[in-house]
């Protein structure tokens, strides 16, 4: 189904909003509850490559829309990740593999936005290594813990709209 990626964006959005609310609760500690990378895993197993690319771009732009990050950096990074994942689906065949991928992708995407935001920031940050490590740690943990419920929602949406199980070739 051609529009499955768009429906999947709508089905994933409540999770992104939930993450924003969690970020709201963490605001006093300057940490962001980041799950955008994790949301990519399940769709990349089943969607065709071009659909996964559009889905990843939408996720990236949704994250960037209300934050001072240079336009398109997170979106294009996620698109590259989506191309990689949809070309190497053998890594996503098992649940442990998916969990590893979720943690890794979420950490990579988190690192991308942190560095991009640092580049766009009007002041230089000193001694931010601890904060970056903490942010990456949270991204890794949240990415791993959040994968199963997010993937369940996304799989249910894809089943409902007749997306076929993961093909061998994209």
């Amino acid at each position: 189904m051609g529009w499955a990626w768009l429906i999947l964006v709508l089905a994933t959005y409540p999770w992104l909003l939930g993450a924003d609310l969690a970020s709201d609760a963490l605001a006093s500690s300057s940490l962001v509850f980041f799950i955008t990378g994790t949301c990519l895993i399940a769709p990349c197993r089943r969607l065709r490559r071009w659909q996964a690319v559009l889905f990843a771009a939408c996720l990236g732009f949704l994250f960037e829309a209300r934050r001072p990050i240079p336009d398109g950096i997170v979106a294009f990074a996620l698109v590259a990740v989506a191309i990689f994942l949809s070309s190497n689906r053998q890594h996503l065949r098992t649940t442990p593999g998916m969990l590893r991928a979720a943690a890794a992708i979420n950490i990579i995407a988190c690192l991308v936005w942190f560095v991009a935001a640092a580049y766009a920031a009007p002041v230089a940050g000193a001694d931010l290594a601890w904060q970056l490590i903490l942010q990456l740690l949270i991204a890794g943990v949240v990415g791993t813990v959040g994968l199963i419920p997010i993937a369940l929602t996304q799989n249910a949406a894809m089943d409902r709209f007749g997306v076929p199980p993961a093909p061998e070739t994209p």
């Binding site: 300057s30 640092a118 920031a121 070739t169």
Partner: protein, 291 residues
């Protein structure tokens, strides 16, 4: 398998081309794209804010009669105290009018106040922001100061149709000039947010403090806006100097940290002071690439 690899390679090449095109595109296109995704999220943010209000309403409605009676009694006492204050203020007002008539001073009515509820808060090392539930439809413009009472909360950085993003005083993007309490010569100091690098309270930096400045004894020095630059009205409170001042590397000036006078992450409502006429700062904001 080879077909898969070739397809992946072609996709990476296409991505590189798209990225190059994206970089070369006029910034208006990128801004339009950002605006579209921000507007997509606006209804959900409104819903979240309103749900919070509704939860607060039902939480208050579920209070017992005894609690309400006790609260009413406390309010009556506060009302009585405020009435005395009101009378004192009325005296001050009359005095003020009399003095104005003497000096023929025209009150500058430069700002329109728009009260807005806070929808969400979002902060990281690189931004400290709140999203408010008022936007372009309510007359809010980028660059407008955001206050709570006489305390500066921050400045509007991006305006959408029904929501706006506010950079808090502690955000790295925030800059303004200020006066220090206890400085009789009214030297101008610079206040700017710093990148948050700890789990503690976010702070801003006060720089260009004169070497001969000494803080008032026994109390933290307050920091006020100067009113210069046309963004913030004068004599609004930015916060307090944190502890002592320390010399900069060059040694000509001193620096200190600023603690906001309110807990910026517990605000429910703020006022946006929208200038009635566009000021130079606002014009500069409109030219910003990253909002």
């Amino acid at each position: 398998m080879d077909q898969n690899r070739q397809g992946a390679r072609a996709s990476y090449v296409a991505l590189a081309i798209f990225f190059a095109v994206w970089v070369l595109l006029p910034s208006a296109v990128r801004r339009l794209n950002r605006e579209a995704f921000a507007e997509f999220q606006a209804p959900a943010l409104h819903l979240v804010g309103k749900s919070r209000d509704l939860a607060t309403f039902w939480e208050k409605k579920s209070r017992s009669t005894e609690e309400m009676a006790a609260a009413g009694r406390d309010l009556a006492r506060i009302n009585a105290a405020l009435e005395i204050k009101l009378n004192a203020l009325e005296d001050v007002r009359r005095e003020n009018i009399r003095l104005r008539e003497i000096t023929r001073y025209n009150v500058p009515v430069e700002y329109m106040s728009v009260v807005a509820r806070v929808a969400t808060r979002d902060s990281s090392s690189w931004w400290q922001r709140i999203v408010i539930r008022k936007g372009r439809n309510d007359g809010i413009r980028p660059g407008a100061p955001v206050v709570f009472g006489n305390t500066v909360v921050g400045r509007v950085t991006a305006v959408h149709l029904t929501t706006s993003e506010v950079d808090l005083v502690t955000s790295p993007g925030f800059r303004c000039t200020a006066y220090l309490e206890g400085d009789d010569q009214n030297h101008i100091v610079l206040v700017n947010g710093v990148a948050a690098n700890s789990l503690g309270t976010a702070k801003a930096r006060v720089s260009v403090i004169p070497r001969d400045y000494s803080m008032p004894a026994g109390q933290p020095a307050r920091v006020f806006t100067t009113g210069m630059g046309g963004v913030f009205p004068s004599r609004l409170m930015l916060g307090y100097l944190d502890g002592g001042t320390y010399a900069t590397q060059v040694g000509n000036f001193k620096e200190s940290l600023l603690i906001p006078s309110r807990d910026l992450y517990n605000l429910q409502e703020v006022s946006v002071l929208v200038p009635l006429h566009q000021n130079p700062g606002e014009a500069l904001m409109q030219g910003d690439q990253f909002q």
